[in-house]
């Protein structure tokens, strides 16, 4: 069922067995798991069923570190959350991502990749992905025209990605959630504070506010924060009425270790004519391609070179010396004809004068685009701003920072890829000018993947992590966190598939706990 919290009498009390705060990919994935159970579930969403500017403004915040996207643009605040504008790129974290790596400070998960495998498999259909198969060989068996580059597996491999349609959780699961008798979805219900009990060992209730000035309480046996990395941290930090540093923050860890994926071009590839005939395995057409490969370095090379994980995608290009935009090479007449042809869905023959495909035997050129993990860094963090939002809650302040390890890893990755593609005869790699420089600074083109991770990191030791291996906040018996904020490290894969898997795992844990 669905209720707009603005229609409730002021001071209403909402009660349930389980209260999930936030209806994005994590919150909705969890809620779906409880449909038909004997437990009553509250699903509290701060926004409405659709985008509203006033609700989105609650996510506005400061950015004081490295240049970053406006916070209100990076996450969506309505039912379905950021799946409302995600691109659908999915892959698993690699086994090495879960390991403690001596050269990556603060690395290591308290669970292994094998622990997540069954949940990854369950997450696949929720994201409308294909089978739980991420080996290049698996996809080549399905489609023999998908041919991986001849890489030495001791050095490099083809890491597969699958593409969600992309699933818009708000649209895809609205009917299922609203139609569930035991799941009570409240929209425009912004949780502004977690209220602990007298001993500060559990949560007694949540203070819920609406933009029209009403205040309600939500009470449950168990609570799950599923608001995204920045908002989870913000809510814990802002729940500081009883504890000045906020809840779950006895060791000053909440908000720290904010991580992004560094996503930016790093070089070019001139692919040898002998390999240029078939690059289908690495190609992606939005909305069409089910899976594609990206270039990744083996765990052995990462260990030997002491670098972070990452992948490199191949985006079609032309060599820089001859590259021209459509507007440079096309005549106005051809441009008009081309637009007309596109407007009609590219039906019929293309307009005469379009560049011919390269003749057989020509090399192919690609931009190489990196996605690389960020090393966990306690100084990269989310704090509370002195500015308050329309609900009188402190806004978030992001201080995004990187270390020399990210910069070095970026360069070494391209050098290794260049050597291996050269050795195999696949082609030659050119590093962008800034990549070749042995510096710690980043160019103005530095950009992230719009991925937020790590602000309530998972660790068995409360001095080193905010939540335990079951995502329970250390020191609070009934408060859990779902989503990418629990990641101790982010790997190279976009976070959504893993965060859904982790949420399903948490859901199973809570089912056992609730009985």
């Amino acid at each position: 069922m669905h209720i707009d919290a603005r229609t409730l009498p002021n001071g209403s009390v909402l009660e349930a067995d389980l209260c999930i705060v936030g209806a994005g990919a994590a919150g909705i994935s969890m809620a779906l798991e409880w449909i038909g159970s004997r437990h009553k579930v509250l699903l509290l969403e701060g926004g409405g069923l659709d985008y509203e500017a006033a609700m989105q403004d609650l996510y506005r915040g400061e950015s004081v570190g490295l240049p970053y996207y406006p916070l209100q643009a990076a996450r969506l605040h309505y039912f379905g959350g950021t799946t409302g504008h995600w691109a659908g790129f999915c892959s698993t974290l690699d086994p090495i991502d879960f390991e403690k790596r001596a050269w990556v400070p603060h690395s290591g998960w308290p669970i292994r990749r094998e622990d997540l495998d069954p949940f990854y498999a369950r997450a696949q259909p929720l994201l409308e992905l294909g089978p739980y198969e991420y080996g290049a060989g698996d996809w080549q068996r399905r489609d023999p025209t998908l041919v991986p580059l001849p890489l030495d597996p001791r050095v490099m491999w083809t890491k597969m990605w699958q593409f969600s349609p992309p699933t818009r959780f708000g649209a895809r699961y609205r009917a299922a959630v609203i139609g569930a008798p035991n799941v009570h979805l409240y929209t425009h219900a912004n949780v502004c504070e977690l209220e602990p009990n007298e001993s500060l060992r559990s949560i007694e209730g949540l203070r819920v506010r609406t933009l029209d000035g009403k205040e309600h309480r939500a009470r449950a046996r168990y609570y799950v924060l599923a608001c995204c990395s920045i908002q989870n941290a913000r809510l814990l930090l802002a729940s500081n009425r009883r504890t000045p540093t906020g809840l779950g923050n006895a060791y000053d860890l909440v908000g720290r270790f904010f991580m992004e994926h560094i996503e930016m071009p790093g070089g070019h590839l001139a692919l040898a004519p002998s390999r240029a005939m078939n690059t289908k395995m690495y190609a992606m057409e939005f909305g069409q391609t089910k899976a594609r490969g990206e270039l990744a370095l083996s765990a052995a090379v990462q260990r030997e070179r002491r670098i972070l994980n990452g992948t490199v995608s191949l985006e079609p290009s032309a060599p820089d010396e001859v590259a021209k935009s459509t507007f440079e090479w096309a005549t106005p007449e051809l441009l008009a004809a081309f637009r007309e042809w596109e407007a009609h869905g590219r039906t019929g023959p293309p307009p005469a004068g379009l560049p011919a495909p390269p003749p057989p035997g020509s090399p192919l050129f690609f931009h190489l685009v990196t996605r690389q993990e960020q090393a966990p860094n306690p100084d990269s963090r989310v704090l509370l701003s002195t500015e308050r939002d329309a609900l009188d809650m402190p806004r978030a302040k992001l201080d995004w920072r990187l270390t020399a390890l990210e910069r070095r890893s970026f360069r070494v990755r391209y050098e290794v890829i260049g050597r291996e593609l050269g050795r195999s005869g696949a082609g030659r790699v050119q590093l962008l000018d800034w990549v070749t420089r042995d510096e710690d600074t980043w160019p103005g083109t530095l950009s992230g993947g719009w991925h937020h991770m790590g602000t309530t990191r998972m660790h068995e030791n409360p001095r080193l992590g905010v939540v335990d291996a079951n995502c329970r906040v250390h020191g609070l018996g009934n408060l859990y966190v779902a989503g990418a904020s629990v990641y101790p490290t982010g790997g190279a894969a976009n976070p959504t598939l893993t965060l859904v898997a982790v949420s399903l795992r948490l859901s199973d844990h809570l089912k056992r706990t609730l009985g």
Binding site: P319, E321, P363, Y414, G418, G422, R428, Q430, T436
Partner: protein, 121 residues
Amino acid sequence: MNRRRFLGVSAASALAGLTGSARGASAHAAFDLLTLAQPDLLSLIGPQAVRKIGLRYRALVPSENEVHALYTAILAARPWPSSIAGLVEQDFAIGRTMVLQGWVVSVTEARQSALFSLLSD
């Protein structure tokens, strides 16, 4: 004059400057200068990029900034594979690579590019 013919003329004059001992020092005198100055890279990234790589190598390794030294250095490789292409592959396999003008090339390719740039100056 097309590039290959131009290179042929340049190579002939350059070869004339090679001492007999230098040519005899290599067991691979069958590799003429023209062949060595035509790296396979040319077909991949084009003459302009190869020339820039060569110029950069010559700037970085001034002791090899002349035809004779480059020719000798390329043919001095041990163990000697069956071909220049094999030598390039061997370079990559053992990490004998350089980053020049951003391109990750084998040292042999770098020297070939330097020869190319010298002979096309």
